[in-house]
């Protein structure tokens, strides 16, 4: 990937963030929070996308962003009032903008008609009376601008080094004149109009990583220019505020273009510099030049036969303030600036204009640096650490077999190794942990689209966006959440009329929340709609032959019927749901991840889907147990306690079942070996160990195992990769002895018990010698 491509990739990553900011800001405005800061943030987001897109010559994106930005600018300056309708339009515009970004990225195509209609709508909002804004004239900052800047540090032409060599701190910068005649220096005929442009940048201009040299260059495109720098405002170095702006440029421009064309050059620094554009010769260039030529600057210009890139020394000080500001001794300060032979400090300064300008981002402060790493490298690292954990366990087991005393140096060293391994694993996993925000931020748009498609009014409230979870899980959250949200709006919420009739706010609220609960991530999607129509669900399930009519079901069981395959309550096949992909698919894909999904519903008040997933799909803390000669791992998260039952605590119930009295409650006893089909008759529970477990739905059970070997962190290995899902088994792992052990799916075991006992599998074959 060449450098420009790499920067482009970064730009698109930032676009994602900016689009999220944009949407967040608009949603805040929708909630009535339309103070100046929010509107400004929204404006900046669009502005930055436009700026970056301009640098890469992404014309359609720039054009649309420009129209969008124009309207936002009007909103910002209160020319256009921010009404709910307007915000709704802006939100839809942000969707189109997102489409443009995707299209520019090569992912998908923009519907030109939609885009044009949206642009027209935006224009109409901006100024309902006036003619449409000249979109075609939207300035496009071309890529060469960027190249020129990146080249700049290498060509820092500082004519003032004589002066800077001076140890006298009271020296003044020498003003210098630079003639930029990139296009037509020898075109003597100054036939065009003469303009005088006075530019006095504010410090914000530099803070936003803009550059006067670029502005001058852009001006030079319009016609021959002569620029004069007035550096008289620059204070002596010991009084110099490195981050302030002091310089003023006066440019004499000869151009055929009109004032607007000149103003457009300064579009990106609008508000960040004092700009005066006057027709005619405000100052006699000859006189000004004569006055200014006293400085050593011309020498610098001569030294560069092709003065394409011009960077002014005083500007560099401000654009890259760190070297100066950070220098503890003032005398040392001029060095990085003054040394033309060593431009590196300037180039390496955090505010390096090259990168910042193209990306249009806020330069992160020191200490906040972020590195971008190819996820494959992290995945590889995690795999390797997984192998390390297995290996370490294997080693520990081998050492244990030799009967080495726990207090020996070897055993202690191994303990330390174990601790270290674990820490490495935790740290590596933390690298891959990400906030669920990346998934959540796609949802507001989905809600808007689904709501408009179904003719419902919905507002999305999100909570816990910063809840962190492993990347492997994040990637697979999107589909279930999308499905649950669609379902909540399509089936959950009533139409605005129905809601009004029921005395509710016509606008329904859909809540999406993420939280950590006992080592798992829980995603809740709730709505304040009508809740599940149990009678209807029940009758549909009977009609479709999914349940028998005689079956008596609790409310909860009826609610969960919607997860049955082949169940769909939509009367008509809508665009939104009912495409044959039902909640059963969601449930199965969630279960495949070791997750659970359940629903609770209150008639008239709404329903809540609860989705719970492991925090990572890579490792698991488990209890290693023996069951009928097999080694199983029970996820620690499910275990409440383990105990050895006393005879009086085990009570028979019914013909075969029995329960365990735990304090004041009775918990069903489940023999794991019997349930999984490892054995046909269970030994008395009093001979084994009981693990009191809690299922996802809060139901408790007492699992009977033969013996407990202890607690261990295991690396999760997929059974499905080479085989398929097995009922009662969540996944597999490899134990210290190199053998595969199965990880028990506690909830499945609890529900398996409710069915008839499975037929026994072939007895375990013992290897022949």
């Amino acid at each position: 990937m060449d450098e420009l491509e790499a920067i482009k990739v970064t730009f698109f990553q930032e676009c994602e963030e900016l689009l999220a900011d944009l949407e967040g800001g608009l949603l805040a405005m929708q909630d009535g929070n339309d103070d100046g800061d929010t509107v400004n943030a929204v404006f900046r987001a669009v502005h930055s996308i436009k700026g970056g897109a301009g640098a890469f010559g992404l014309e359609p994106l720039v054009r649309f962003a420009h129209v969008f930005e124009t309207l936002l600018d009007a909103v910002r300056s209160n020319e256009v009032p921010s009404t709910p309708d307007l915000v709704a339009t802006l939100l839809r515009a942000s969707d189109v903008l997102a489409d443009h970004v995707s299209s520019a990225r090569g992912l998908g195509v923009v519907d030109e008609a939609v885009s044009a209609a949206m642009a027209a709508e935006l224009k109409a909002c901006t100024d309902p009376n006036a003619a449409p804004a000249p979109v075609a004239a939207a300035p496009v900052v071309e890529a060469p601008a960027f190249e020129a800047v990146s080249a700049a540090p290498a060509e820092v032409l500082i004519g003032a080094d004589d002066a800077l060599d001076d140890d006298d701190l009271g020296f003044d910068f020498q003003p210098m004149t630079i003639t930029i005649d990139e296009q037509a220096a020898d075109v003597a005929a100054a036939v065009g109009n003469v303009w005088t442009v006075s530019i006095r940048p504010k410090s914000d201009l530099y803070r936003k990583a803009n550059e006067t040299a670029l502005l001058l260059r852009e001006l030079a495109r319009l016609g021959p220019i002569e620029a004069a720098l007035d550096a008289s405002a620059i204070p002596p170095l010991d009084q110099l505020d490195a981050e302030a702006a002091y310089a003023t440029w006066t440019v004499r421009l000869e151009t055929e273009e009109d004032e607007n064309a000149i103003r457009e050059v300064f579009e990106f620094v609008d508000g960040d510099c004092d700009l005066e554009i006057t027709r005619g010769e405000a100052l006699s260039p000859d006189a000004a030049l004569a006055a200014l030529l006293a400085g050593p600057a011309p020498a610098a210009v001569e030294a560069a036969p092709e003065p394409v890139v011009v960077t002014e020394a005083p500007v560099e000080i401000k654009a890259a303030p760190e070297p100066v500001a950070a220098a503890p001794v003032v005398e040392a300060a001029p060095a990085p600036v003054a040394a033309p032979v060593a431009p590196a400090p300037v180039a390496a300064a955090p505010a390096a204009p090259a990168a910042a300008k193209t990306q249009q981002i806020d330069v992160p402060g020191p200490g906040q640096s972020v590195i971008r790493v190819d996820p494959e490298r992290i995945d590889r690292l995690i795999d390797l650490v997984g192998e390390l954990v297995i290996n370490q366990a294997m080693l520990a087991q081998r050492v244990g077999e030799y009967g080495i005393a726990p207090s020996s140096n070897l055993a202690m060293g191994l303990d330390e190794l174990e601790q270290l391994t674990r820490e490495i694993q935790d740290s590596v996993m933390a690298i891959r942990a990400q906030p669920v925000k990346s998934v959540f931020q796609r949802m507001p748009r989905l809600v808007r689209e689904v709501a408009s498609m179904t003719g419902k009014q919905a507002r999305l409230v999100m909570d816990g966006e910063n809840t962190e979870v492993d990347k492997t899980v994040i990637e697979r959250l999107s589909d279930p959440i999308t499905h649950m949200l669609r379902n909540a709006i399509d089936h959950g919420l009533e139409s605005p009329e129905e809601r009004k009739a029921a005395g509710k706010n016509p606008e329904g609220v859909v809540k999406l929340a993420a939280l950590h609960r006992s080592g798992r991530i829980v995603i809740e999607v709730s709505d304040d709609g009508k809740g599940i129509n149990r009678e209807r669900v029940h009758s549909i399930a009977i009609k479709k032959g999914l349940i028998s009519p005689e079956l008596q079901l609790t409310d909860e069981e009826i609610d969960n019927l919607i997860f049955l395959p082949g169940f769909s309550t939509a009367d008509k096949i809508s665009d939104v749901s009912g495409r044959g992909v039902g909640m059963d698919v969601v449930k199965r894909s969630v279960q495949a991840l070791g997750g659970r999904i359940s629903i609770t519903s209150r008639p008239g008040q709404g329903s809540t889907f609860t989705l719970s997933l492991p925090l990572t799909l890579a490792v698991l803390d488990g209890m290693v147990v023996d069951v009928a000669g097999e080694t199983l791992v029970v996820p620690l998260a499910a275990i409440v306690e383990s105990l050895r039952p006393k005879p009086e605590e085990v009570r028979p119930l019914g013909p075969v079942g029995s329960v365990l009295a735990v304090r004041d409650s009775f918990v069903p006893l489940i023999d794991v070996g019997l349930t999984l089909g490892y054995r046909e008759a269970s030994p008395p529970p009093t001979e084994g160990v009981v693990l009191l477990v809690e299922g996802e739905d809060g139901s408790r059970a007492a699992l009977v195992a033969d013996a407990i070997h202890g607690q261990r962190q295991v690396v999760i290995k997929s059974l499905e990769q080479n085989y398929q899902q097995v009922d009662g088994v969540a996944a597999a792992t490899i134990l210290g002895d190199g053998r595969v052990a199965l990880i028990l799916d506690v909830d499945a075991v609890i529900s398996l018990r409710r069915r008839e006992p499975p037929r026994p599998v072939e007895p375990t074959l013992i290897a022949a010698e």
Binding site: E630, Y723, V726, V729, I734, V761, E762, T764
Partner: protein, 155 residues
């Protein structure tokens, strides 16, 4: 292990032949990843009788299938000579437990005869064809259908 070469004009491919009970079977050598000696497998609950369980193959969980049982014959009692052939079937890797590996054959497709009509459906769906070499009858296994269909997990 001897190598038999049969020369005909058509495009040839190589097969690995092995014994299951008294019968000989073979698979395309391109599907074979490795051949390993028997090691005890971890039993899988709720699985058909021909699934012997799973073993650890360098960090991956590999299901082991008793080929004899899959073909409707009595289960193989593993001996020291028992091996499993690791094959790629679709996107999955499985180990086929067989009694012994015998030969590598190089054949052309015109040597493959269609499977005769037999009463047993299992045999017909798992056998692609029959090869006759030196009076031996070797049945070629069709790997695609050996493993049960994975439950469709559409998203």
């Amino acid at each position: 292990m001897s190598e038999e070469i049969i020369t005909t004009g058509a495009e040839r491919r190589e097969l690995i032949s092995f014994r299951v009970g008294e019968q000989e079977y073979c698979v395309d050598i391109m599907a074979v990843r490795e051949i390993r000696g028997w090691s005890p497998a971890t039993t899988l609950p709720q699985s058909p009788g021909y699934m012997r369980g799973v073993i650890n193959l360098r960090g991956a969980v590999l299901p082991i299938m008793d080929l004899a049982c899959r073909l409707g014959m009595p289960v193989i009692e593993p001996t020291v000579r028992s091996v499993f052939i690791v094959v790629k079937a679709g996107d999955r890797m499985i180990g086929m437990l067989v009694d012994a590996v015998s030969d590598i054959l190089s054949i052309t497709d015109d040597l493959v005869q269609p499977t005769p009509d037999l009463a047993c459906d299992a045999v017909r769906s798992f056998i692609r064809g029959i090869i006759s070499i030196d009076g031996r009858m070797i049945s070629e296994i069709s790997l695609d259908r050996l493993l049960p269909e994975r439950e469709a997990l559409a998203a």
